[in-house]
Symmetry: D2
Subunit: 306 residues, 4 copies
């Protein structure tokens, strides 16, 4: 399969994908069984696919072999109608390419490539362009850019997206800055084959209004039906419902990202009947009060869908 | 009239208001005739009112007596069906209160109060709450909060908006950060009598989707019909048109704010047949290339409305 | 006197100058008697002069006539052997020039000109260069640049200092960023007639080591003898004493600037037998605990000098 | 050897240590021969030891096995009179501990542990304290904290240094923020057994004045004699020479860090007769003009020492 051709229907990014959490046991080791159990639960939700090894999957604290184990497990549990994306961005071009090739061999259908950021002062638009082009040249599967300044400290210039959208193997972007002006400008500046996913749940509905065609959101791990309902309401032109549900989504989204981080998201998964599991140090477990708050927000979210 | 009562129809903030530019002559002196001529031109646009002495009105470089002259001139040219708001935020509580009283005496129907910011490390939520409450207590007219972190360096915490919304004389807010997640959270957290205006044109349409009920936008000075058309399209449920027009609005809005600042906005006014005039130093005139670009974007905007 | 000539001995910036606090009465009005009483107290300290209308003088919340009153009072109480500097930076070039001329008429021997900052995105090196040059061209007295990014949000580029040092009426700079690398680079890049004052007390001793020749420090208001002792120890080559005293100075300096701001500085003045007075709203009075801490640090500082 | 005891003479951090560059061949592979050749050259310099796997060693783009190869090579070439420190900070506590144990087994005499930073919003003082304590508990060799906000985006609170200084196996810190006020506060707040190294060459001399007892500086890779001369001049009380040499050091230091980054440092090594080699992508080679500038600064530095 020459995946550098124009994307077919199967390659389109659309709908809602959870950036899967990586459950750990209390001793810090990987809990693959919990990971697979979550995938079984997600089978009943209206999800377009999964992202493995994203920021919410604690990719930055996983060992190389753990990453491959997770991809294999996800591949086994991902139905053919759903897309399996994998986060492969590392600090070095060669490292990212090598991991990209490995996960493609294991069945990843696309890779999400984080902006390298350690030497941030050197990460000019030109340097980043070369980086992503090198990865896209070498990747056997479609490449999606991943901008998340809250973690990388690197804003993603409009111009960079515009230039990279010309590469036949760069198919889109996860825009997680929450800047819907930028998101709208990107959508308006790239060909429609470059697809923009919203990566910031508190702006899901406005991002869809600005032209996002997909969403990769932490909250989709714990209450997938809520972002899915917003996505559908928007697609159906039911803006009143979209906005109403957004107001329910936002406090939960803030709690499981900005306020409590991954530990909050895992607590929300636990509260929703999934298996969040422990976080890996240096991240610390959520407090009891935090856990109770998160659980309450999960219940609110579930109630809003009834 | 006891304006501390619940707002009547006439006190509602709704629709589009330009933050009027303050034209200067080439020698740097105030050009009141040009200011009044602009108001005459705006008579034909579907505007809900005007804001005098905003950031785009170069309030920070105006002398006290110039401010009063501008308010008087605006009062003379503001039809009764339109609202006249005036920016009165200074660094001191007493200074803001004094200016607020003076402009109310001159006919201002509401004041927009900027976050004080020089001693920013001391501007905690509690300190800002006291400041705005003191101003609201003393103001004979409704008070609107004005958050514009790009100028002040001070983010506006959700909690502050929530607390201030309880004050009977605080009636709303101009939210100019471009953070539509925050805007949505504010709207969802305050009573409907607290009205939120979008102050960032690149997110006008998504801000309306999040619940903004008005817009105070630099671009409304040069091509008022464009934000008005977006406002109306959204109100009518024509999201396709709103989004299409937003994509035309955004490049112009970026040019007359982030890229070229007030000099760009004034050049856009000139290009649109209004009288922008010179900026006051230290701001510098726009380059010829910038002027040409801005004029081209104005023509694009006007063409999109035909 | 043609002050645009090369500076004579009398025009050299050297030694320690307090940026005088502006005492207010409890009702918020100016307490000129307290201001003058402080100047009487300072007569006994080994100070090189005074700065009126600086950031610690709450210049941003003073009315124009209050500013002139303070300059007049300072002029009356400043011995001829001490230099009287006045902060005159406003947001507009014309406003700064007008105030500069007025205070020069009242006897100011130099002006300290703050970076304009409201339209910060437009404040490029070129724009700032033009601003300072216009002020220096018009000023009848020597001009000193004033960089204080903690308040303005504007870093002061090395290149800007280098360019402005060529102007015959720009005689130096108050560098308050705390960045002693920048301070050292400026000193190494300008002619010796451009004199750099340290404006950040926690780096007084290292700034002197990097070539600062003067110091304008909040702590010089409350315990002037301490920075003076550090200045003298450095000048005498007694680095051990300089460093030891710096370790006493730093906690007090942090308390009266970063931690408690002007309210802390005024409390420290009160504790030291001076008259700090109230701050002007929106600044709030220091807490009792803060006041006790500040007083304790003042006592430590005084004890270290015995 | 129980390294958790109080440090003996041999464990003191003192003097100048270069954070060794990692030369790559043009194909991006590790050039161990060049790395070893550099160590042979350094044998003639008055260095206190070496740091392997620091930021300037491009640790973030090295594979795990490459890291171990470098440590082994450094161990072979490090004389017993010099200390061999190794950077081992990764994003996960367990990963950092594992690497720390491995390099200790290979002969590292201390480890430099970077602040984890990917989930920066969660990296509170408490979380960071637990992280460093866990690493220090597990490490068979002394632990040095490594704060470099320009790369991590995480400031290092004074309080964190104070708390960690109580741990018997935390022996000091590399402070690379350039904030000599903070450095001075840390020195004044910890026991003398906690040793602070300056990690920012433009403030080497003022940092020594504030109490730094060692220096780990990029410029020590290309012109080690220059920081060594400053260190000695300061130790000998020759402040005039220290300051004069600092003014030579600073432009070179800025070029090989802030301006050109690691590519600049490697070009400076080439210019000085060492073997810098290529950088690893996404970092890009320095331009010809940059290379010429860096070479010129190296020559200036060498000339100043004659």
């Amino acid at each position: 399969v020459n995946t550098h051709e124009s994307p077919g229907v199967e390659a389109r990014l659309s709908g809602v994908l959870p950036p899967l959490v990586t459950p750990f046991k209390l001793d810090g080791s990987l809990d693959l069984a919990a990971f697979e159990a979550n995938l079984d639960t997600y089978a009943g939700a209206d999800l377009a696919g999964y992202l493995v090894l994203g920021s919410n999957g604690e990719a930055s604290v996983l060992e190389p072999d753990e990453k491959l184990e997770l991809v294999k497990a996800a591949r086994r549990r991902t139905p053919s109608a759903r897309r399996l994306l994998v986060g492969t961005g590392l600090e070095s071009t060669r490292g990212t390419i090598e991991l990209t090739r490995r996960v493609a061999d294991l069945g990843a259908e696309g890779v999400l490539v984080l902006t390298p950021h350690y030497y941030r002062a050197q990460m000019t638009t030109e340097v980043l362009q070369r980086y992503f082009e090198a990865v896209a040249d070498a990747s056997p599967v479609p490449v999606y850019l991943y901008s998340v300044p809250v973690f990388t400290g690197i804003p993603f210039p409009l111009e960079l997206a515009v230039r990279l959208a010309e590469h036949p193997n760069v198919r889109g972007m996860k825009e997680s800055s929450g800047d819907v002006a930028l998101l709208g400008r990107i959508v308006a500046s790239v060909p429609p084959t470059f697809q923009v996913a919203c990566g910031s749940a508190p702006v899901l509905y406005p991002a869809l209004c600005q032209g996002a065609v997909a969403a990769v959101l932490a909250v989709a791990c714990c209450v997938p039906a809520l972002p899915v309902a917003i996505f559908r309401a928007h697609a159906a032109g039911d803006h009143t419902r979209a906005r109403t549900l957004q107001q329910v989504l936002t406090p939960l989204a803030v709690a499981v990202t900005a306020t409590y981080g991954v530990a909050g998201l895992k607590a929300a998964c636990d509260a929703a009947g999934l298996r969040g599991g422990a976080v890996r140090a240096p991240l610390q477990p959520i407090s009891d009060a935090g856990r109770a708050l998160v659980a309450s927000l999960v219940r609110d979210a579930e109630a809003a869908l009834r």
